[in-house]
């Protein structure tokens, strides 16, 4: 599964390469949901997102996205019991989430307006590196999950039509269950710059 997705992404990269690329660099603030939230319920303020895309039609762009969000929480000392065994201590929990996606963006036709709304969909893989430091031990779980990522956003054009615009987007990364781990999902609000 992972290899198929990565090969598809590589082919896609080759196809896109050489064309006039747009680059968007954004800062994500990510909110965990579901199993990820059960594990770490704190908002992530650590991350970065990078998108490369090109227009295949005036209002349609395709490209690649990758990003990194780090979810982190300190769990105060508490007792964890399984069967007759109990263990107590402080836990430091981490989840690094790195989606690698092929994506499309559909811009609302609005030739001369400064604000351009868009919707988008990404498909690909979500690499999850989850670990907990418990006492002097580290318990790690790395997995690759299938990922769908719808988004809604706006681009605010700069004065110079060839200069960077401000990009604001709300994205939802839905990870799907693997044998090792339940699907890891999160919302993110991204704010950054889109360069043409």
């Amino acid at each position: 599964m992972k290899n198929i997705i990565l090969s598809a992404l590589a082919l896609f990269c080759m196809h896109v390469a050489g064309a006039q690329l747009k680059v968007a660099v954004t800062y994500p603030i990510a909110f965990p949901v579901g199993d990820l939230s059960d594990y770490i319920d704190a908002t992530s303020f650590r991350g970065i997102s990078l998108e490369l895309y090109k227009n295949i039609k005036p209002n349609v762009a395709v490209g690649l996205e990758t990003s990194w969000s780090l979810f982190y929480a300190r769990e105060d000392e508490k007792v964890y019991t399984e069967g007759t065994a109990s263990i107590s201590g402080v836990q430091y929990r981490y989840t690094n989430a790195v989606p690698i996606l092929a994506m499309g963006k559909f811009f609302k036709p609005s030739a001369n307006k400064p604000v351009v709304p868009f919707g988008g969909l990404g498909v690909g893989t979500l690499f999850i590196n989850r670990y907990a430091d418990f006492g002097l031990y580290r318990v790690t779980n790395d997995t690759w999950q299938f990922c769908l990522r719808p988004e809604l956003g706006i681009v605010i054009k700069g004065r110079d039509s060839n200069g960077p615009g401000v990009l604001v987007a709300a994205k939802y990364y839905a990870g799907f269950n693997t044998d090792d781990l339940e699907g890891q999902s999160y919302f993110s609000i991204n704010i950054g710059l889109a360069f043409r």
Binding site: V23, T81, G135, L136
Partner: protein, 214 residues
Amino acid sequence: MTIKLHRWLALLILPALSGCYPKGAEYVEELDLVYTNYDQAFAFSSKQTYAMPDSIIKITGEAFEDPDGNGKPQMVSATYSVPILQQIDQNMAANGWQKVSRTSNPDVVLLVSAITTTNIYYYYDWAYWGWYYPGWYPWWGWYYPYAPVYVDGYRTGSLFVQMIDSKTAPQVDNVPVAWHAIFNGMLEGSTPDIVTRIQRGIDKAFAQSPYLKH
């Protein structure tokens, strides 16, 4: 212009990212763990008395070695062992147990050992305790009615408390362990600090073992 901006962004972003990674534990006590496990079939509430040696032994390897030929293993210095054993006594008393001497037919015996090697030896030789509790064969090991978690790579210090069932018939060359507690942490800091942390660990071990209470 665009390319230059990209480069500046890259230059700014990389140090910012590496600088914001959370660092985890800052204080040595945050690394302390207390692990307990017990035999569900053991009727703790019907037991009243316990005996405990006045020393903590050092487990230096699975097999008991006795270079000085006195039949005893190395002991932990009294600076550590006295306050640690007192803390265990206090917790046992608070849970309704009565301390008796080894020769007064106690219901259970508490054996306390310290391990600073890289592995935890659930199965160290009984011979370590032959000086205190004679009569069983020195090559015997331990019988855990529950599955003890075997942990590799204990890089630091562990205090190991085993409650043995001294009245039930031994299980084929094994001493039955009804309860055990492990306090694991870094042996860093001053002696009073380490002792205080271990004492807190003992309190936690009893707090997370409510079945010991009468």
